[in-house]
């Protein structure tokens, strides 16, 4: 069993080596590659920030030169509501009002298959509400949306998840009084033993259970949680819960995974390994939608960025387009200034999200 200290100790070394050996390989081969590259790491930079800068640089180059996802988006103009060559998720005129407040009012939003698409925007911009709407956890005031070409407007959340569109929550939802392994195994779909009568006959589901368990163990290992396998999820740290939730979502075998601030509250070292996981997922063909506030992270990892403000999409584009986009800068700086006088951001607003 590894202790938490090991883990936090490993990670900087891991990403330092990524700078040395090339993030390309790590991204392509997933976290296992990260782990092995780690051992060969030589140039260990003790300064986290400096290391991060380098990583970001390397990764940006990855995105621009190599990623097939980025290449697919190459000809797309950077403007709100633009059409993509092969969208996996398409939202049309989706709006949601809470009393007088319009939380979401999206005219058109498309997400290209096989990319990491980031949703950014100031607090209260409507990113989580948009997630809730398209994943079936909230009902829109109006609008339609489709997944994989299939209209899923108004479909219940569990059906949408079964279609292969899985989301995580801004406030982590670990199943506290279940072990990490149980959390994971729950994620598997089409389990025979989940039907009432077959569940009484162990032989009918025992075989499937074995395979699921193996897959769960494999994912736990990938997400550095193997040592917590039989511990209650409630005993895990916040960052570990984020990891567990992501890993659990992977058990569903999604084509599209929507991560609502997966990095919030996770220590910077762990963030790096999470980013590695996310890129590895993308390279395996999963589409990822990511809500994140850390601009460095966003710029380094995303193939495409969609910026929300006051419920609407105000800008879209590749990281470079967004970096120089005035609307985005205005939205952010405006919000930043307001936030500075308001006090701490983020989690206090999350209190309402029960």
């Amino acid at each position: 069993m590894k202790s938490d200290d090991d883990e936090t100790g490993d990670a900087p070394a891991g990403f330092a080596s990524m700078t040395a050996e090339g993030a390309h390989a790590a991204a392509a081969e997933g976290a296992d590659a990260v782990a092995s590259a780690m051992d060969e790491g030589e140039a260990i930079d003790p300064s986290l920030a400096a290391g991060r800068e380098k990583v970001l640089h390397a990764q940006q180059e990855t995105a621009h030169e190599l990623s097939p996802a980025a290449r697919a988006l190459a000809g797309v103009t950077a403007e709100p509501g633009v059409h993509k060559p092969d969208p996996i998720l398409v939202a049309d005129q989706v709006s949601r009002r809470f009393g007088g407040l319009t939380a979401v009012d999206v005219h058109r939003l498309e997400v290209q298959r096989g990319t990491i698409t980031a949703l950014i925007g100031p607090n209260g911009a409507g990113k989580s509400t948009f997630f809730n709407l398209v994943s079936g956890f909230d009902k829109p005031t109006s609008g339609t949306w489709s997944f994989n070409g299939r209209d899923i407007t108004g479909m219940s959340a569990y059906r949408i998840a079964r279609l292969g569109m899985v989301r995580t929550f801004q406030l982590t939802k670990a199943l506290t009084r279940m072990t990490a392994l149980e959390n994971m195994m729950l994620g598997a779909t089409a389990q025979r033993g989940e039907r009432f009568l077959p569940s009484l006959l162990r032989p009918s589901w025992k075989g499937q259970e074995k395979t699921i368990e193996a897959r769960a163990d494999e994912l736990l290992r990938r997400f550095n949680l193997a040592h917590m396998r039989d511990d209650f999820a409630g005993t895990m740290s916040g960052g570990q819960r984020k990891l567990l939730e992501m890993a659990r979502a992977m058990m569903v075998d999604p084509a599209l995974i929507m991560l609502d601030e997966p990095m919030a509250g996770v220590n910077p070292a762990l963030t790096q390994s999470l980013l590695g996981h996310i890129q590895a997922l993308r390279d395996e063909g999963t589409t990822i939608i990511l809500v994140e506030h850390d601009m460095d992270v966003i710029m380094s990892i995303s193939d495409w960025i969609i910026c929300f403000a006051e419920g609407a999409v105000i800008a879209e584009g590749r990281p470079d387009d967004i970096r120089s986009n005035h609307a985005v800068i205005d939205a952010y700086l405006g919000a930043r200034r307001a936030l500075a006088t308001d006090g701490p951001d983020g989690e206090s607003d999350g209190g309402a999200g029960r």
Partner: protein, 477 residues
């Protein structure tokens, strides 16, 4: 931490219990309870209920001694039409008979004051007949054929007034005239008045419950017992043997219940909250508290329903189609005044604004410098006082019993959910609707089912509009 909590909670519980044991005899009702301890477990199963008579009136197992002064009656006053001197003379010696399903229940003759009263065994639908032959020949019924009033509904614990409008000989109308319609109208209006009165009583108790829920998210299952306590304490001071002036009794009762309510917050709920107890946990604790208080009250008060002396001997006031007893009017006026007062308090005062802010968003309220603990304490005290007033009015209009508040509790929940969980105004509105539904159901259904229909409103609301009339939906993720 835990030890401190123990130190706080235990003395309270045991003090209550000891007080119960010590004072029980003083209050023990003369009517012996049917409950006995059975040696075998089997009989004990039913035992829990045999002294928990919910609807004393409609329950055959209840002690039948409750008829007469403290049970249900049908009564009325026979007056001649306004004579030359501008006064109305009572009519003596008229025979009136009450029957049910063709069986005669009892009869009476009007006295010197024109009054008559016939006790009935239990709540239900009765038929009252005036023997026209015994009327003096100077008067006749306003509407011929109206000597029999059918379908007169007697509520549990209520006295029902039967009206026989009389006119001078020769001024009456036929049975098919407009008079028949106005009788129906009068009936519906009288039901509206009782329904409104009942709804307002529910509203007054429900507002406190709703405010407590709004500020603490606790579903306080013991709220009904605060209602009962209000009535019981007022009863204890206001009737024999003490017989203090009724106003003083009422004030004492309200203060006592408000203090107890605040004490519970201070010594039980606050420490639990500080400890991070879950809401379900606290909900179940409130159920335990409800069991403790309810049965504690029963220990003092006895299992029977009792009537406030102050509430008997009511004369019916009539204006055109409206008729009501003074108690009805007092209840309606007082409760409307109090509810408006609560609304003004919530809307205008600092305290009220703080309560609403807290209900709206706890973190924000806390961050903006509101002293959350103090506001919650205020909510409990006010909620307790409102419950006590509601309980006293409920006791005055029906009867006092150890489980009166518990029976009201589910109607409060129905009102609160109908109005929208967490909204104080919704609770008022919903409760009034629930009271009206309860009373109007008796037009078509047996009166013992009125609470059942009112509670069905709750189920229907959950089906159709779970957020209630004024409520908001919760956010998901």
């Amino acid at each position: 931490m835990r030890r401190r909590l123990l130190a706080i909670v235990m003395p309270i519980m045991f003090a209550t219990l000891i007080a119960l044991c010590g004072g029980g005899a003083a209050f023990a009702s003369p009517a012996a309870s049917p409950a006995t301890a059975h040696p075998d477990g089997a009989a004990a199963f039913g035992q829990s209920s045999s002294h928990l008579v919910a609807d004393g009136s409609s329950d055959a197992a209840a002690p039948s001694s409750s008829s007469g002064a403290q049970g249900e009656t049908i009564s009325g006053t026979l007056m001649a039409p306004i004579g030359e001197g501008g006064t109305r003379e009572p009519i003596e010696g008229v025979t009136i008979t009450v029957s049910q399903d063709g069986k005669e229940i009892g009869s009476a003759t009007s006295g010197k004051d024109g009054k008559w009263q016939i006790p009935v065994p239990h709540a239900g639908t009765y038929q009252v007949t005036l023997d026209v032959k015994t009327l003096p020949n100077t008067v006749q019924l306003q509407t011929a054929g109206k000597e029999t009033l059918k379908g007169l509904v007697v509520q549990p614990g209520f006295s029902k007034v039967a009206l026989f409008p009389l006119v001078k000989q020769g001024q009456g109308t036929g049975a098919t005239g407009g008079g028949g319609g106005s009788g129906q109208l009068e009936y519906l209006i009288s039901i509206f008045i009782t329904g409104l009165r009942f709804g307002l009583i529910i509203a007054m108790t429900a507002v406190g419950l709703s405010l407590i829920f709004g500020t603490t998210r606790l579903i306080n299952f013991a709220h009904g017992e605060l209602v009962t306590l209000g009535a019981v304490v007022a009863f204890a001071f206001g009737t024999s043997p003490l017989q203090w002036p009724f106003v003083i009794a009422i004030v004492l009762a309200v203060i006592a219940v408000a203090a107890l309510s605040g004490l519970l917050e201070f010594a039980l709920w606050r420490p639990l909250r500080k400890r991070g107890s879950g809401l379900i946990q606290m909900f179940i604790i409130s159920i335990g508290l409800s069991l403790l208080l309810r049965n504690g009250i029963q220990f003092f008060f006895g299992p029977d329903r009792q009537q406030f002396q102050q509430a008997t001997a009511q004369t019916q006031l009539t204006w055109g189609p409206f008729s009501a007893t003074p108690m009805d009017l007092i209840t309606i006026v007082v409760s409307i005044a109090i509810l408006v007062g609560v609304a003004v308090m919530l809307q205008r005062t600092r305290m009220g604004k703080a309560m609403r802010a807290l209900a709206d968003n706890r973190d924000l309220a806390e961050a903006s410098g509101i002293n959350v603990d103090r506001v919650i304490l205020q909510v409990w005290v006010i909620g307790g006082a409102l419950a006590a007033v509601g309980g006293i009015l409920f006791g005055l209009t029906s009867a006092v019993s150890f489980d009166m508040g518990f029976r009201l509790l589910l109607l409060m929940f129905a009102g609160i959910i109908l109005g929208g969980l967490g909204s104080a105004y919704g609770a008022m509105l919903g409760s009034i609707v629930v009271g009206l539904v309860a009373q109007y159901s008796t037009v078509w259904f047996p009166p013992e089912l009125q609470n059942a229909w009112a509670m069905l409103v709750l189920v229907v609301v959950l089906l159709v509009r779970p957020q209630g009339i004024l409520g908001r939906l919760q956010r998901a993720g």
